[in-house]
Amino acid sequence: MRPVNAVIREVAEENPTVRTFRFVPSFDPVPGQYLMVWVRGTDEVPMSFSYQDGITVQSLGEATEALFCLGPGKSVGLRGPLGNGFDLVGDRILLVGGGVGAAPLALLGERAREDGLEVTSLMGFRCSSDLIFRSRFEKMGDLVITTDDGSEGVCGRASAGLERLDPGSYDQIYLCGPEPMMMDVILRCRGFESRIQASINRYIKCGMGICGSCCLDPEGIRVCVEGPVIRADRLLKSEFGRYRRGPGGLKEYYRR
């Protein structure tokens, strides 16, 4: 399938560096699936669905900055929904997000509520002005917020907020956020890794499982098609949390 032309219907500023783009047409994604967003003239980058018809983007570099220059009426090319999304399991679930990682979890939580599940959310941000999707998460059920600077909610990382909850009591935990934060949460949940699903970030180029850019050591999991949602027990046996690869395949280690 060629990229589908999608017109930007609406842009919402979620915080100073994060915006939500809503498109026509809409899609039918499983929460956790992603789109390859072709910002014409710049690059094509992966973005998770935060709505059926939308993505929520943090401005980071060339492609995201170019996207931020596009307002309603402008268009992008979209390939998707791609990859394997989250699998809803059990009756009581916990969402743990960090920063823009809240995006796919918001869509997941809303889907879970529609299905009658009980949803608790733990969302970490750097500071109160970084908060996104507060009302979406509040509508779903309990929401614990953490901020690095304590300007809102619990002071500390999302993992700090975990102490206020009983993670073992949830049927399933869903993670999305910076890799060290996700690794931290997983390590604090040793013993029930198999009940944790994480949407992870790797360099996605082809999005169709052939170029090899997104593969996880040592199994060679193709994140773009077998992920981006992967169970924590598999992640623990992988490079996850230690390094990822850059666009040319060079390993980039996380600082400990």
Binding site: R2, N5, R40, E44, G77, M208, C211, S213, G220, R245
Partner: protein, 299 residues
């Protein structure tokens, strides 16, 4: 039980169905996975003298019967690639290092810097300036580069040819003169796709290379012609996505086949093709050797 094992281009393989260059070949782990999934050998992503990030996206676009890619030879350079080859070798099959460079010296530098079971010279990538088919469409370059690499390594050397020429056989002969142990045909066809809504070329690099079922008939033709004209074996690649396709390529004269785009359907393709080929040989009462090039022998 028909056996699929045998010599291919100076290697001894358990089966002649290989992972093609540039497909899931950036990391040792994905190469090892292909080996464990049943590939007879695996070819790495093409690596060069210095790290490259590749072209901006989109780097692939799906078209009818295949896809166009312009990855732009992203690779960590040979200096950072030995550990990937070492890991890939745990798959238990030979690891072929695909390499590129801008001329005989750079090719020799890259080859000398790697310990692999075989080298495949990428003289055929159609979308990277100064590399690939830009130099590989000249027989004299093909010959010189092949000779230079042959001198600097003591494992088999394969030469991957571009179909974007009037006469691929002259390239094959040049590789043969240069001492190649096999030629590999074909790399992708020069191609392009334009977005109708915006009038914009879709690939970040504008141009790319067409692969997949769409190019199989071109590949079959090239392999047929090359295998008729050369003494060195030909390895066929282009659009193979089933055992029938592999059989067709072998009938055309291929000693081995490589699978690229079809990996989009998963690693299971190796098992499907080898199982299908085995059943076919048993049903026909033929050996792999008898199959090879049989299309040339029909009246």
């Amino acid at each position: 039980m028909a056996t699929l094992s045998g010599a291919v281009g100076g290697l001894v393989l358990r089966n002649p169905v290989m992972l093609a260059a540039g497909i899931l070949g950036t990391t040792g782990s994905s190469l090892r996975r292909a080996a464990r999934a049943g590939a007879g050998c695996v070819v790495t992503k093409s690596v060069g003298a210095s790290p490259r990030e590749g072209h901006p996206g989109p780097v692939v676009v799906q078209v009818e019967g295949g896809l166009i890619n312009a990855m732009g030879l992203p690779n960590p350079s040979y200096k950072n690639f030995q550990e990937e080859i070492d890991l890939a070798r745990q798959g238990g099959v030979p690891v072929v290092a695909s390499i590129f460079g801008d001329g005989p010296e750079e090719f020799a530098e890259v080859a000398s810097g790697l310990d692999a079971d075989c080298f495949e010279l990428n003289l055929s990538c159609p979308h990277a300036e100064r590399y690939g088919s830009e130099i590989g469409c000249e027989p004299s370059n093909v010959e010189d580069i092949t000779r230079a690499v042959k001198k600097s390594v003591d494992v088999p050397v394969w030469v991957k040819l571009t179909p974007n020429v009037a006469d691929i056989v002259s390239l094959g002969k040049a590789a043969q003169r240069g001492g190649a142990n096999a030629v590999v045909a074909i790399n992708t066809l020069k191609a392009m796709a334009i977005d109708v809504e915006t009038g914009r070329p879709i690939l970040g690099n504008r141009f790319g290379g067409l692969s997949g079922p769409a190019i199989k008939p071109v590949a079959i033709r090239c392999v047929f012609d090359l295998s008729a004209a050369l003494e060195v074996p030909v390895i066929g690649v282009g659009g193979i996505s089933s055992w029938e396709d592999a059989a067709e390529m072998i009938l055309a004269g291929a000693q081995g086949v490589q699978v690229g785009t079809a990996l989009a359907g998963g690693y299971g393709i190796f098992g499907e093709i080898t199982a299908g080929l085995e059943r076919y040989l048993v049903r026909k009462g033929l050996t792999l050797m008898e199959l090879r090039g049989a299309a040339r022998k029909t009246p």
